[in-house]
């Protein structure tokens, strides 16, 4: 907490001095009040002097007004410091999140990052404000009252020395026990929410399996657990108020009795006994507030350490010291002397410290203007493979090169501008179609945007929108269908003329016809670019559909993170049983278009060797024959 405060206190230090200083004056007046009243009684009432009473009355009045004035200053300082520092922290935190590579994002997780930048910072802001306003006030009031009481009379002061620590102890005991319960209580409440949500989202499954009784029992149990914890907390915390009241007033009893003795021998006056009573009340009430502060600060310090954790986490991918890369010329590309547009050299990758590689020893290269198809089952590593190209992750060993230069030597901005990506999840951000499309090139002209939309097969439906390019987009692009969203994300990647276009399973919501038209348009764009003297567009298509990749110059078949086959469609049909199997699961044998006679698919070596039974294998030819007969 302190560390975070020091770090962000530049420019706010004066508030931390002025604020509490002003507050101190108010507290000082608060402390004087019982003394003034004591004087009022002893000098005014005792001496029957109405003027004295009035004088002290005016003094009280003036103290209240001045005290209020100082407080206003303090409150303003608190607001300025807490909001100012919170704003800076939020900005710094967001900047750090923006610097994070996917590895760090994976580590923290999105919900956790969001909580840190919202709730945690709010919590810290609250603590700063309370700190400026009250951290001085209540402890000072408590201690000050005690000191004032001791100054009046040391013997009576002993009562304070006993009762104050007593209350402190009670608070400490109760709080220490309550705090762990609070967390538990929230967890139990979350669980009730979770079970309710599951019950609603799974209503069909629950009813179809006739498990209503089980769900009912589950909820009942969670509700009972929650109430048990809540009652336990309540039991503890309901002690606090009565005990404070008890100790405080028993203290008063002692003051009256001992004060009586003191007054009787002439060591004290009646007014001073009254002051004692008032100081007693003030001390113990202050302790209640101090306890409250302790809770706020405990929470804030937990928040601060969560914020610090993010601020201290250094992004694993940086481009420090990398200078701009010179792109090959069009002539070099035509002459074939340019480095391959894309090259994987024994690239290995693993998430975190995992033992097994998620990607193992991938080697392939694609020349400028060519198309690479990547196919494989879910979880085979296709998306991971292409995420290495814009350096969203770094390889564990080996290298990934773009235009002959290792991606780790590119400036990130330039690399990610050269590489246009259409991610698997078609997400758009709220704004307009234009604001979404200009992510890669904020100065793109309308013509360029329409060209990109044409290429992505999205121009038709955008044209039909009343506002065209300026049509609103809701968060997540919810006001568009899945297919439309996907086409818009394709257009977004094409704007700003990327040299490498990655389509990561981004035609899944498109029908076959549109998918084919899209691929043709991308191809045409590539030819156009090179005809215009530019560099041709290299395309990487990740798909589960054979039809999407079969025309690619090079197809990479992925299985469990490694390359199971590399070649053209025809080559792979001959050499890669897995590829053949994938093809057969989607197309009929006569649609494969392979030239050589294909043997009945054997159980593939790579595919799930540890599964003892392979029921699918004998089924495949069978199914295909059926299909054949059907024709």
């Amino acid at each position: 907490m302190l560390e975070l405060l020091t770090r962000f206190s530049a420019g706010f230090r004066r508030y931390f001095v002025i604020g509490p200083a002003c507050k101190l004056l108010e507290v000082f007046f608060d402390l004087l009040t019982p003394l003034v009243i004591a004087r009022m009684i002893d000098e005014g009432v005792g001496a029957r002097d109405a003027d004295a009473v009035l004088r002290y009355g005016l003094l009280l009045f003036a103290m209240a007004v001045i005290g209020m004035g100082f407080t206003l200053v303090c409150q303003k300082m608190a607001a300025l410091a807490s909001q100012g520092m919170g704003t800076n922290m939020r900005s710094a935190l967001y900047r750090r999140i923006n610097e994070f590579a996917n590895v760090e994002l994976d580590r923290f997780g999105t919900p956790s990052l969001i909580t840190r930048i919202t709730n945690d910072i709010n919590q810290i802001q609250l603590a700063i404000a309370l700190g400026v306003r009250q951290l001085i006030r209540w402890p000072f009031l408590a201690v000050g009252s005690m000191v004032a009481a001791l100054l009046i009379d040391l013997k009576l002061g002993v009562i304070f020395l006993i009762s104050t620590p007593l209350i402190g102890l009670v608070f400490w005991l109760v709080m220490a026990r309550c705090v762990p319960y609070f967390k538990q209580m929230q967890a139990k409440l979350d669980r009730i929410g979770l079970i309710t949500r599951e019950g609603l989202s799974g209503a069909r499954v629950v009813r179809a399996f006739v498990r209503e009784d089980h769900e009912r029992e589950r909820f009942r149990q969670a509700a009972y657990e929650q109430s048990a914890v809540a009652i336990a907390v309540g039991k503890l915390s309901s002690i606090l108020n009565p005990v404070t009241f008890l100790v405080m007033n028993l203290g008063v009893c002692a003051i009256l009795w001992m004060g009586g003795i003191q007054v009787n021998v002439g060591d004290l006056t009646q007014g001073e006994v009254m002051a004692f009573v008032n100081y007693m009340t003030q001390t113990l009430l202050s302790i209640v507030y101090v306890a409250n502060l302790v809770v706020v600060f405990t929470k804030a310090s937990a928040s601060a350490s969560r914020v610090n954790e993010v601020l201290h986490c250094e992004p694993s991918i940086t481009d420090e010291g990398n200078t701009a890369v010179e792109l090959p010329s069009a002539q070099q590309v035509t002459a074939g002397t340019a480095a391959p547009a894309l090259r994987f050299d024994a690239a290995c990758f693993a998430f975190g410290d995992a033992q097994a590689n998620t990607l193992d020893n991938v080697t392939l290269q694609v020349n400028a203007g060519q198309t690479l198809g990547v196919i494989g089952g879910t979880g085979s590593g296709k998306s991971t493979l292409v995420s290495l190209i814009p350096r969203l992750y770094d390889v564990r060993s080996g290298a990934v090169e773009v235009m002959g230069i290792d991606v780790r030597r590119w400036p990130l901005d330039q690399l990610r501008h050269v590489v246009g990506t259409v991610p698997q999840r078609a997400s758009l951000l709220s704004g307009t179609i234009r604001s979404n499309l200009t992510w890669r090139d904020s100065h793109a002209t309308d013509d360029e945007l329409w060209a990109a939309l044409e290429c992505a097969q999205a121009a038709d439906f955008v044209r039909k929108l009343p506002k065209g390019l300026d049509a609103p987009v809701e968060a997540g692009g919810k006001n568009f269908s899945g297919g439309q969203r996907q086409r818009l994300t394709i257009a977004r990647a094409v704007v700003g003329s990327p040299l490498i276009l990655i389509l990561d399973d981004s035609a899944s919501a498109l029908d076959f016809k549109t998918d084919a038209a899209l691929r043709r348009a991308v191809h045409a764009r590539s030819r156009q670019e090179s005809a215009a003297g530019g560099l041709p567009l290299t395309t990487v298509i990740v798909s589960q559909r054979v039809s999407s990749v079969r025309d690619a110059d090079l197809i990479c078949v992925m299985s469990h993170g490694s390359v199971a086959g590399l070649g053209t469609h025809d080559e792979l049909l001959k050499t890669c049983p897995l590829y053949e199997e994938i093809c057969l699961s989607q197309l009929k044998r006569e649609e494969l278009g392979g030239t050589a006679p294909v043997p009945a698919a054997p159980a593939p070596a790579q595919a799930a060797p540890s599964v003892p039974v392979q029921p699918a294998a004998p089924n495949i030819p069978n199914l295909a024959f059926e299909g054949g007969e059907a024709r």
Binding site: T71, L105, E198, E215, F245, N264, L412, P615
Partner: protein
């Protein structure tokens, strides 16, 4: 668009029902998502709330009685203290004979007040949380008795909020709020009585000056409230921005869009600073503000009191009585401010109670008839005759559907999105009841069979996977909780889920997080398939059950399904040709009607809509 590619998932019916939000089916008088029912009067709400308290009547009355006793005793202490001070006048003028019993009385009163205060806190706390618990359970069980049309038509977030937050609000606001209100009122009245009993003129002085404090507090609250709303609005905007951009951080990274995103963020952040600083400052005025007024009052009471002691005007007082009045002046204003805030809390709580009761009053699913048939050994003969159905009264969905399925036959449902394929499955399981016609299972109208036994006859896998928070084992064994580990593993193996389960840290005992945790959609689907593999249904319903699984695994899973389906009746909604082609009968649906039916070859030969669909998808150039 490829009609095969995205068949409506079950939950898409939500959209089609959205016209019928009012859960009592009276048509759209209420705004979307609203269950309605704000019609309860305050009196009705209070009466119903009291009915929840009735089982706890004892602790309820104890808490009120002890609150009253505690407050009175607490108020009595300043009087005793004042009297005590009056006994300590000056050197040699201390009346110890009177002081001793007074201190003893004071100690007793204090102990008594503390004890009753504790008792009251204890009772209210217990009462509150137990009532909250009972209300929650009632609300949750209510949900389980509601028809699916209700659950589909209302945003789940709203329903959850009723069960979780609203019930909490009711507990906090009504139970604790009421006792606070009660103690507050008793304190005000008690103080008044005590003050009047000491000195009427002084009491009038205190009563006259206190409204200033209350007024100041409410003025500040009004100002700060306005700025709070402002702050909340900007905070909401920034929160939305964060949710959206941090949620898409990988995308931002991919496009090196961080700098632009930061600019947008900083703009909103700056706005929040302005609004937040203002709100923070204004709201921080309320304590010092009331404290200031109280200090003024304190000074006024002290001066007037002392004058009274000296001159007897406005009242003849002792010094001790001045002390008493000073304490009262301090105390008297506090409950006023508390009562104001408690009333707001109680208002919120009433609103929450209305929302809760609206849920509890919703019309439930019609229970099974008393003489409903318990189907023990279903054969799987399903027949639909002239079935009509619509989610919304004036928008017909299914019309005149007739299907006759002999035991063991397999049906594939094909057609464009929204044609009613998924609806048909909803009707078979009686998630919705048909408007006209009849559905029979083994010759019995499904209306006359208990829902439980009807549903046990079916095995179902939906496109929307559903996993609950629990172990992998429990999730797979959901339909047969008594299954052994071996049976579960065997089911997982047949669903091709065994392999990735084995790789989990705790294998079958791994706890799955909320909504499937870190599993991919495909893996979740495999787990749901394993779930149905473990059961032994007479009829199998698969609604896009393999839509998220890669084609190769799908083939293997399909083989397992074929095994499971052998000899069973099955209805399959699918978009993959291989699945459709093998069906005994393909039902081609459009606009809620069965346009064509027959085998794959028959339909191709027919050259109708199905053939067109088939050609557009698979005859790619």
């Amino acid at each position: 668009m490829n009609p095969y590619a995205s068949a409506g998932s079950v939950s898409t019916v939500t959209a089609s029902v959205s016209g019928n939000d009012n859960l009592n089916g009276e048509g759209g008088e209420t705004p979307r998502g609203d269950i309605g029912g704000a019609r309860l009067s305050t009196m009705q709400v209070t009466r119903r709330l009291l009915s929840y308290v009735r089982p706890h009547a004892f602790s309820f009355s104890v808490s009120f009685v002890s609150a009253a006793i505690s407050v009175v005793l607490q108020l009595y202490t300043p009087i005793l203290i004042g009297r005590g001070i009056d006994l300590i006048i000056d050197t040699g003028r201390v009346d110890f004979d009177a002081l001793m019993p007074l201190v003893q009385t004071l100690a007793l009163v204090v102990v008594g007040a503390a004890a009753f205060q504790w008792l009251q806190g204890y009772c209210v706390n217990r009462l509150c949380y137990e009532t909250v618990r009972d209300m929650r359970i009632e609300a949750s069980e209510k949900l389980s008795r509601m028809p699916l049309s209700f659950i589909d038509a209302h945003p789940h977030g709203d329903l959850i909020s009723r069960v979780v937050n609203d019930v909490d609000q009711v507990g906090d606001g009504l139970l604790q709020g009421f006792t606070q209100l009660f103690t507050g009122v008793v304190t005000i009245l008690g103080t008044l009585v005590f003050m009047l009993s000491i000195s009427v003129p002084m009491a009038i002085v205190v009563v006259l000056v206190t409204p200033a404090s209350v007024l100041a507090a409410s003025l500040i609250a009004k100002f700060s409230n306005r700025s709070f709303i402002d702050q909340q609005r900007v905070q909401g905007q920034l929160g939305g921005y964060i949710e959206e951009y941090v949620g898409n951080q990988r995308l931002v990274n991919t496009f090196s869009h961080g700098n632009d995103a930061q600019q947008g963020f900083d703009a909103l952040n700056g706005e929040l600073y302005t609004a937040g600083e203002r709100a923070q400052f204004l709201s921080s005025l309320s304590n010092p503000g009331t404290r200031f007024i109280n200090n003024l009052i304190y000074a006024v009471v002290a001066v007037i009191g002392c004058m009274g002691v000296i001159t007897g005007v406005p009242a003849q007082l002792t010094v001790g009585e001045v002390q008493t009045f000073l304490s009262y002046a301090n105390q008297y204003t506090k409950p006023f401010n508390e009562v104001t805030s408690v009333i707001t809390q109680i208002q919120t709580a009433y609103a929450s109670a209305c929302r809760l009761f609206a849920l509890l009053d919703a019309v439930e699913e019609e229970p099974d008839a008393a003489d409903a048939l318990e189907l023990t050994d279903p054969q799987g003969a399903v027949s639909l005759s002239h079935v009509d159905f619509s989610y919304v009264k004036d928008r017909k969905l299914l019309q005149d559907i007739c299907v006759d399925a002999k035991p063991g036959m397999s049906f594939a449902l094909v057609g464009p999105t929204g044609c009613g394929k998924t609806t048909l499955i909803n009707l078979l399981l009686r998630f919705y009841d048909i408007d006209a016609g009849a559905i029979e299972l083994d010759g019995h109208d499904t209306h006359d069979i208990t829902r439980a036994s009807l549903r046990r006859s079916f095995g179902m896998v939906l496109q929307d996977t559903w996993l609950f928070e629990g172990t992998v084992h429990d999730n797979i064994a959901y339909g047969r909780p008594d299954a052994t580990r071996e049976e579960v593993i065997e089911a997982a193996r047949r669903a091709h889920a065994d392999k990735f389960i084995a790789q989990l840290p705790q294998g079958y005992d791994t706890v799955i997080g909320e909504d499937g945790g870190s599993f991919s959609t495909g893996q979740k689907q495999l787990l749901c398939i394993a779930r149905v593999m473990l059961t032994d249904p007479a009829i199998l319903l698969l609604d896009e059950a393999t839509s998220s699984i890669d084609t190769r695994t799908e083939l293997q899973v399909q083989a397992a399904f074929d095994e499971l389906m052998a000899g069973r009746t099955s209805f399959v909604v699918a978009h993959r040709l291989s699945t459709i082609r093998n069906a005994d009968c393909i039902l081609y649906m459009r606009d809620g009607q069965i346009l064509e039916r027959g085998t794959h070859d028959e339909l191709l030969a027919l050259g109708g809509a199905y053939a067109e669909l088939y050609n557009s998808q698979f005859a790619e150039s």
